[in-house]
Symmetry: C2
Subunit: 342 residues, 2 copies
Amino acid sequence: MGSGRTGREAPSIADVARLAGVSEQTVSRVSRGSDKVRPATRDQVLRAMKQLGYAPNRAARALRSGSFNVIGVLTQTIQRTGESHTASGVLDAASRLGYSVTLVQVAHPETDAVHEAVHQLSNQAIDGLIIVQSGRATHTHLGLPAGLPVASSDSALVGYYPSASADQIQGVRDAVGHLLALGHRTVHHVTGPHDSQSAMVRMAAWSRRLEEEGIAAPPPVSGGWEAGDGYRAGLELARDPEVSAVFCANDEVALGLIRAMHESGRRVPQDVSVVGFDGLPLAEYAFPPLTTVRQDFHRAGSAMVDLIVEQLEGGPRDGSRRIVIPTELVERGSTAPYALPR
Amino acid sequence: MGSGRTGREAPSIADVARLAGVSEQTVSRVSRGSDKVRPATRDQVLRAMKQLGYAPNRAARALRSGSFNVIGVLTQTIQRTGESHTASGVLDAASRLGYSVTLVQVAHPETDAVHEAVHQLSNQAIDGLIIVQSGRATHTHLGLPAGLPVASSDSALVGYYPSASADQIQGVRDAVGHLLALGHRTVHHVTGPHDSQSAMVRMAAWSRRLEEEGIAAPPPVSGGWEAGDGYRAGLELARDPEVSAVFCANDEVALGLIRAMHESGRRVPQDVSVVGFDGLPLAEYAFPPLTTVRQDFHRAGSAMVDLIVEQLEGGPRDGSRRIVIPTELVERGSTAPYALPR
DNA sequence: CTGAAAGCGCTTACAG
DNA sequence: CTGAAAGCGCTTACAG
C-alpha cells in the first residue's frame, strides 16, 4: 500500500547533533523543549535544527515513548451539524494542546463495524478516544481496550465513560415551558429517530414537563433528524386544528414542519408556534426565524479533550465524571401567544 | 504531555511467533497479508494472533517501512457544509483503502498558521495531504515539502496540485441560463466573500453568461457565505422593483435573501426568482423549496483520496491532473417565469 | 516457503 | 548540564 514518499531524505537527530557539535541526547532534550539545557547549547542546537529543517520523526518518538500525541475521534457522520461542530471543538482544543486528531466515521455503527474501527484506532495509535456519536453501538459493542482514556458526548454512553454534553433535559424544559407560558393548552412533539438515546431523552423530558403542569402529553409524532421527517410530521399535525404548539426534536425537523404548515395554510406563528432544538446557524434566517434551544457543540468537543488529558494525568475514568453544558433558549419569530383557532 | 496508557501490555510480534512456533518474520508476513505463506502456517499464526489479541504496533511499522498509512486533511472549518461533506468523502474512501485520516483545522490560514500546521502534519506523519480549503493561503504560503503527494479541492490551488472539484463554471451557467430561459430580462448576483477564489469564479461565470446573451451584468451585491450576508443583500435588492431574478453565491445566502424578500413584501417566486448553489439538504425544505446547483462534495473527497494513491503509485503530481465533477441544476419552487412588476 | 541479523530514529534510564 | 549504551517493535534485504 503506497511506496512511501520519494524525494529528499529527512534529516535525523544524528545530523543535527553532528552539525551542532553535541550528542543526540542533547538534541532530543531541546526537541522536547524540556529539561535543563544550557541556553548557549540550546541556541546552537536550535540553529542547527533550523538550518537542516529538522523535525522529529513522530513514528520513532511514538515507538520509544509509547505515546502518540494523537487523539482518536469516533463519529457516525461528520456531515451532520452536531457532529461536525463537536469535531471542530475537539480539533481546536487538541491542536492548542499539541495533539493531532485521527477521525473515524462509522456510518452504521451497530456491532462489528464500530468494533473493528475502534480496534484499528486503538492499536497503540492513539492516546485517547473521543466518542462523538456511537449510533446504535452500546458500551459492550465497543469493546474498548482497558486502560484507554475515553470521553463521550453520546447520550447512550453517558454514565459509562467520562462525558461532556448539553443539558438536554433543561433545554427541553425551557422549550416546553416557553410554549406553555405563551398560553398554549398543550404542546405536541415530533420525535427524533427511535434508536437514538438522545431523541428518547428529549421525548421523555417533554412529556414529563407537561405532566408537571397536569397536562396529559398528546401522542408524539414519529420523526427523525431530518427536514423531510419534519415535513411529513407537519402535514399530519396541520390537519388537526387543535394543534397550536409543536416542540420538535431538532431544528431540521422544525424547519421541515414549518414548511408543511405554510403549505397547509396554517400560519407560523399566528396559528401554530414551533420550537426547534440545537441552534443551527441557518435557523436564525428561516421564515419565520426559528425559536430554538441552542446547544454549544463546539464547547462539548473541547471539554472532551480536557477529559482525555485529565485521564492521561491520572484523573477519573468512570462515568461519574460528567461535564454538563448549559443550553440556551433563543426566542425568535416562530413562537407567539396562544390564540383561539380561527 | 500525557504519561501514556496504563494497563495491559500489548502483545508483540515476538509473543505471537513464540506461541505459533514460527519466526517473527513469518508473523510479519501474515500480518501484512502478503507473500507466500503456507496455509497451515498462516492458520497457526492467525490463531495465535487472535488468542493474544495481537495488533501490529503502528509506530514500529511506520518507523521501519517509512509509510504511515495516514492521509492528512487540511480544512479551514469543518463546521461548514462543503468542508464537512468533502471530509466525509475523504474519510469513507480512506477507510476503505486502509488509511487513517488526520484532520487539521486552521481557521485563519493566511500565512504562518497554515505553514506550521502543514509542517507539523508532514513530519513523516502522513503519506499524503488533502487540502479541502486553504483559505487565503496560497501555493507559496503552504511551503509543502517536496515529494509529498498532495491533492486539493480549493479553487485557489487548482493548477498547482492535482485536484478534484465541482465544475463551478458549468453550474453557474446552468443557474443563470435557467433564469434567462424563464424570461427574466437580467439576473442579479449576490457574491461570496471577496477573498474567496471560488466566489470570484462564480461571479465571473455569472457575468460572462449574461454577456453571451448581450446583457450587461448589473453591479453585483457583496455578500459572503452566510445567511446573514444574504439577508442584508436581500434587503437591498428588495428595494429595486426591477430585480426579478437573483443568483446567489451559495444556498445559505439564498435562504437569507429569501427571508429578506418575504419581509419586504416581495413574493418568491412570483415576484422574485432565486437560485442558490451547493445543494444543502435543508434547501429542499425551505419555503419555497430552493432551486439550486447541487455539487457532490462527498465525491470530490473520495476522488482526492484516489489522487493521493495515484501519486503514491508513481502517478502525476502536477496541477495538470484534474478531476472535474459535474454539477446538477435542481429546479424547485423558488424560480418561476418572469412576470411584469406589479 | 521460512528464518537469523541488522537497523529505522528516537527516548529512557544511568553515569558523570 | 551533558553523553554513551540499550532497546522500543517492527520490516527489509539476504540466505537457504
